[in-house]
């Protein structure tokens, strides 16, 4: 069921990462691990017995082989999983194949508040899945240290709303490490996971969508899945990616979204949007929870207005897939972008600006942004605040009649 652009990408990746190159990667990796072993031991003494350079090299080779075998083909046995279970599955695969991988965060040892790490401590040991104190800045800074010393660091911030104490570590330390050290050091092995978005009753501090804050920061990758299959594939891509990644998980979908998810590891390429539905009149772009709203809006538009919508899940917010979006807008001439975060300075602004630069002469109507109000995320006004299907539908009508 994969579209041709996905296959072409897979082929491109297969040809660029040839076995010779991967061999070099492994050698370099080994040297680096040995070189950093003392730092690693210092930073991370309770795990030293587990971090074995030879073992990690083997794991790396294995994971590269996995990459070759399984990329783009999430076949094999599947299991019914909701979104949090697919996250657990991805983390399980990672801990099994990469002995340097560690998971840490507030309350992750007993499964985390959203149950994403259930059973992992018992399966892999308390030195690989462990609780941290309540200190977000410390968690991310610590993760950068773990990653720079060669281990695979998977940090959990309990809610995306709590990530701000770690803002400095993410923006100034993690994102710029490779650049400021002239490529000597990087924390590409760091992945930060955080539950994200509205949940129905989260109020000010358990509902925010802070992706736009981080989208202003070159050096980071920001990824948001829309369901269990994407969550697993994209999370494994983030973990494998050699850049620090922030992986935001739509918390309202943790239990609500259920799919048949492959048990084996697989990856979904980053920085590639996915066209969920082809159409000719309006392009609808979103990510995470909101993509489900737009799918419904597309059906409504077809049914009630006879308008054909192309629905695109951006998936990676930074660096984002300009090509897919612009190609679509060239075809449809209209663009609607929707996200839960407030409209001013939201990531829709960046998309809108880029599209008008690239597709100015193709546009049939002003680009429409249907986003959250410019207010703090409200407690009891949430249904009014969120950009629901009616608001999006209204925007489509206006664009069509422009």
């Amino acid at each position: 069921m994969r579209s041709s652009w996905q296959y072409s990408n897979i082929i491109q990746q297969l040809t660029t990462i040839n076995p010779y190159k991967s061999h070099i990667c492994c050698c370099l990796y080994r040297q680096k691990v040995e070189f950093n072993y003392s730092i690693c031991a210092f930073l991370f003494c309770r795990n030293t017995t587990k971090i074995q350079p030879a073992g990690s090299q083997l794991a790396r080779v294995l994971s590269i082989l996995h990459f070759f075998n399984l990329i783009g083909s999430p076949k094999g046995p599947t299991q019914k999983m909701n979104l949090f279970q697919s996250i657990t599955s991805a983390l399980d695969n990672t801990l099994a194949s990469d002995p340097t991988a560690v998971i840490f965060g507030e309350d992750v040892a007993f499964g985390g508040v959203f149950r994403c790490t259930v059973g992992l401590r018992d399966k892999y040991g308390k030195d690989r899945v462990f609780n941290t104190p309540l200190c977000e800045q410390g968690i991310v800074g610590f993760g950068i240290g773990v990653a720079v010393a060669g281990a695979t660091a998977i940090a959990e911030i309990q809610f995306a709303d709590y990530i701000f104490p770690a803002f400095d570590q993410i923006v100034n330390e993690a994102a710029k490490y490779r650049y400021r050290s002239g490529n000597l050091f990087d924390c590409g092995n760091l992945t930060i996971r955080a539950p994200w978005g509205c949940v129905g009753h989260g109020a000010l501090y358990h509902s925010q969508s802070p992706e736009a804050f981080f989208a202003h920061c070159p050096g980071l990758k920001i990824v948001i899945p829309r369901g269990p299959i994407q969550a697993k594939g994209l999370l494994l891509s983030c973990i494998a990616d050699k850049n620090p990644c922030i992986f935001f998980e739509p918390k309202i979908l943790y239990r609500a979204a259920v799919e048949q998810v492959p048990e084996e590891p697989y990856t979904i390429p980053l920085s590639q949007a996915e066209i969920l539905q082809e159409g000719s009149d309006v392009t609808l772009v979103s990510w995470g929870t909101q993509i489900h709203v737009l799918k419904e809006v597309a059906s409504m538009a077809q049914e009630k207005l006879g308008v054909s919508c192309e629905v695109i899940d951006l998936q990676t917010i930074l660096p984002w897939d300009i090509e897919t979006v612009c190609k679509s807008v060239v075809k449809t001439g209209r663009l609607l972008i929707s996200h839960e975060a407030p409209v001013t300075g939201g990531f829709a602004a960046e998309i809108s600006s880029t599209v008008q630069e690239e597709c100015f002469l193709n546009l049939e109507a002003p680009i429409s942004r249907v986003c959250g109000y410019d207010t703090p995320f409200p407690h009891i006004f949430e249904p009014f605040y969120t950009p629901d299907k009616w608001k999006c539908f209204e925007a489509i009508k206006k664009m069509i009649n422009y």
Partner: protein, 393 residues
């Protein structure tokens, strides 16, 4: 019948440790009660202090009944919140205070209403002790117009004059508390700021930044760590390299206090406030306390601690029972009197619940109000270019 009464009376005597059993079964006038008594209280552990708070505390009958009333009201209010939450009338995030009542009551008894107080998200108890009615607290929880924050805040966001909230982000209120103390010092008004945080927040970096500034500038700030033994699901031993929270200010003097005893908390807070008002700079208090509920409503609270542990605290060191026993054993009040108070509180909480479930929700215009300080009204961009609302502050 008469012998039966005698037996009951004797039994009650033994229970309360009194020998005036005959008086238990007859109604008494207030003149029969002991108006004032002195109690031995647990000695505080000290850090960088020569002398600590006294080991004896005086309690008048009025004070005792007032503390009882306060703690019992908070307890009843929290149990009602629990019930409303389970009925899905209260939604979202809700952190209950039952078990820790002695902290809020003891602190309030030792500071002036004009002193300042700031706490984290477990704020219902302090909102009450700082003068907000049960009605307004419950209405805030249910998101109604008559709530203390107009129904816009919810559980973690409650405020009152000299009470700065109600802060949802772990540890974030502590630097604010130091800032409030700086304002007190600058204005020279002899006021202090009580800055509260939990044992979990004690590991946040901002605390140490605040300690340093407060000590550097000798700010009248009482840092209080309410150590309820668990930061969410993590016990203090698993989260902190040193669980001596009263020592963690290093260069700041500290006290470790029995936070289940309202008298202990009162005496220690009095001592700390005197310390601050004397210009000696900040002081840290660790109140050893316990929460009966889980961290929040989504945490049953029994996956990381045993039911026996909770039961033991409830039976051996419940702050309300402890005060009640003390007063009974010293003939400062009667069982009937406490019962009457309980009934009265229950009624008050029921009435508040009635209000909190019948008051209307705030009007939609409230969504955009109070974003910026601006007059005339500010236009707020909405979900789509044509949906704009006005913001008034």
């Amino acid at each position: 019948m008469k012998t039966m009464l005698a037996i009951i009376s004797n039994a009650l005597c033994r229970m309360t440790g009194r020998n005036a059993g005959a008086r238990v079964v007859v109604s008494r006038s207030f003149a029969d009660f002991t108006p004032q008594a002195t109690f031995d209280i647990k000695k505080c552990d000290l850090h960088r202090l020569e002398e600590g708070p006294p080991v004896k505390a005086e309690l008048t009958r009025e004070q005792g009944l007032q503390y009882y009333r306060t703690m019992q009201t908070v307890r009843r209010m929290e149990l009602k919140a629990d019930q409303l939450y389970k009925q899905k009338i209260i939604r979202g995030f809700c952190h209950l205070y039952d078990g820790q009542e002695a902290c809020a009551a003891g602190i309030e008894a030792a500071i002036n209403p004009s002193d300042h107080l700031i706490t984290a998200y477990r704020a219902h108890g302090y909102t009450y002790t700082r003068g907000v009615s049960v009605k307004e607290i419950l209405a805030e929880l249910t998101g109604r117009r008559g709530g203390v924050a107009k129904g816009k805040g919810g559980s973690m966001h409650m405020y009152a004059p000299h009470f700065y909230g109600g802060n949802g982000i772990v540890g974030a209120q502590v630097p604010l508390g130091a800032g409030i103390a700086l304002a007190c010092q600058y204005q020279g008004n002899n006021q202090v700021c009580v800055t509260l945080y939990g044992d979990g927040a004690a590991n946040q970096g901002q605390l140490f930044e605040s300690y340093n500034m407060a000590a550097l500038w000798k700010l009248p700030c009482i840092f209080i760590c309410e150590n309820n033994k668990y930061g969410m699901g993590t016990s203090v031993e698993r989260a902190a390299a040193s669980t001596d929270y009263y020592k963690r200010g290093d260069f700041i003097p500290g006290l470790r206090v029995d936070g289940m005893d309202v008298l202990c908390v009162r005496e220690a807070t009095q001592f700390a406030a005197d310390h601050c008002r004397a210009g000696k700079g900040p002081i840290i208090m660790e109140l050893q306390t316990y929460r009966y509920h889980g961290h929040s409503m989504s945490d049953p609270g029994v996956s990381y601690r045993t039911r026996e542990e909770i039961q033991e605290v409830r039976s051996k060191s419940d702050p309300i029972s402890m005060l009640k026993e003390r007063m009974l054993s010293h003939n400062m009040a009667s069982v009937e009197e406490f019962k009457e108070i309980d009934i009265e509180i229950r009624k008050q909480v029921e009435e508040a619940t009635q209000f909190a479930t019948s008051d209307p929700e705030p009007p939609l215009e409230e969504l955009c109000n109070h974003i910026f300080s601006k007059n005339p009204p500010l236009e707020v961009r909405g979900t789509s270019p044509w949906s704009k609302l006005k913001s008034v502050s």
